[in-house]
Amino acid sequence: MSEMIRLSIFRFDPERDDKPFMQSYEVPVTKRGMKLLDALNYIKWELDGTLTYRRSCGEGVCGSDGLNINGVNGLACITPVTGLKQPVHVRPLPGMHVIRDLVVDMDHFFDQYRQIQPWMQTDTPTPEHERLQSPEERALLDGQYECILCACCTTSCPSWWWNGDRFLGPAVLLQANRWIVDSRDEATGRRLDQLEDAFRLYRCHQIMNCMEACPKELNPTAAIDSIKRKLLARKS
């Protein structure tokens, strides 16, 4: 008989349930290096077809399956089940409205992403060829552009739980910094103007949950600090 893992999964169907509850499942370890997403797939395909969750690429690139796993946010597709304390408590990302089971409403998160205008803005005429960048200038984007917008960091941030209507959160601020440090972008001043706000930016209290939660091992706290330094530099 194969090894079994026990899971306790958040269930809530607003059309049927009055309130959420945790449901227990037992899943066999079907392969070496089995990931949490494999266990969820097993439940959905073999045990309980009503379990609802998001997934897509299954290899930590699309950022669809961000979940709260044993109290820590992470991607189910790259989290090995071995080593997780059992029963494995799987909940939706904190601080977000639950649509059903493990699926949360990401609209507000992406609204906030749109607010920072995440595209290259230029004032100078478009050159005949591409806008060039030196290797050193390109290196500034490392640790910024890799964000997959899974929202694991933002939904682990207490400041975002408290003031998420106005505080942009770590993922969006990391993306804001990605455009601020891009040597080809010419809207740095406007971008900094848009961020200079007691709530939008300065709600970050360096709690650093974002850094712990990021499945791509990025450091949004450092990015936020970089924005603050740029604001200070232009003021001083």
């Binding site: 609209d107 609204d111 103007d193 961020l195 200079e196 007691a198 709530f199 300065y202 200070l232």
Partner: protein, 120 residues
């Protein structure tokens, strides 16, 4: 939590951030001094008259004033952030921050009056 309209930036926040850190630097330099003075008194290095002379000196009063101002600014900024974080109702938030400003200003004025012996 969904926004219907994008509120834009209030162009504020850097002042609070800057003053909180500036006051922290002043506190880090000046706050150990009263404790050093207490150690000096308890170890017998400074007697009562010596202590009064030290406190009465213009330079000491100036440092004392700086210390109390930095302490008030730092405490105000820190508590303001806590109220902004935990009090979601704007009316309560503004009332509490305003009340805190009045209490802290009163405390500061009272303390400065003691330092500079206003009124005799």
């Amino acid at each position: 939590m969904k926004l219907t309209k994008e509120p834009g930036s209030a162009r504020s926040g850097i002042g609070d951030w800057y003053w909180q850190r500036l006051s922290a630097v002043v506190l880090a330099v000046l706050l150990p001094l009263p404790f050093l003075l207490i150690v000096a008194v308890y170890s017998g290095s400074v007697d009562q008259l010596g202590l009064l002379d030290l406190l009465d000196h213009f330079f000491s009063r100036l440092l004392h004033t700086l210390l109390i101002l930095a302490l008030i600014v730092h405490a105000y900024m820190g508590l303001k952030v806590i109220f902004e974080d935990y009090v979601p109702v704007i009316g309560w938030r503004v009332t509490l921050i305003g009340g805190m400003l009045v209490v802290m200003s009163g405390f500061g004025i009272w303390w400065l009056a003691i330092i500079w012996a206003w009124g005799g």
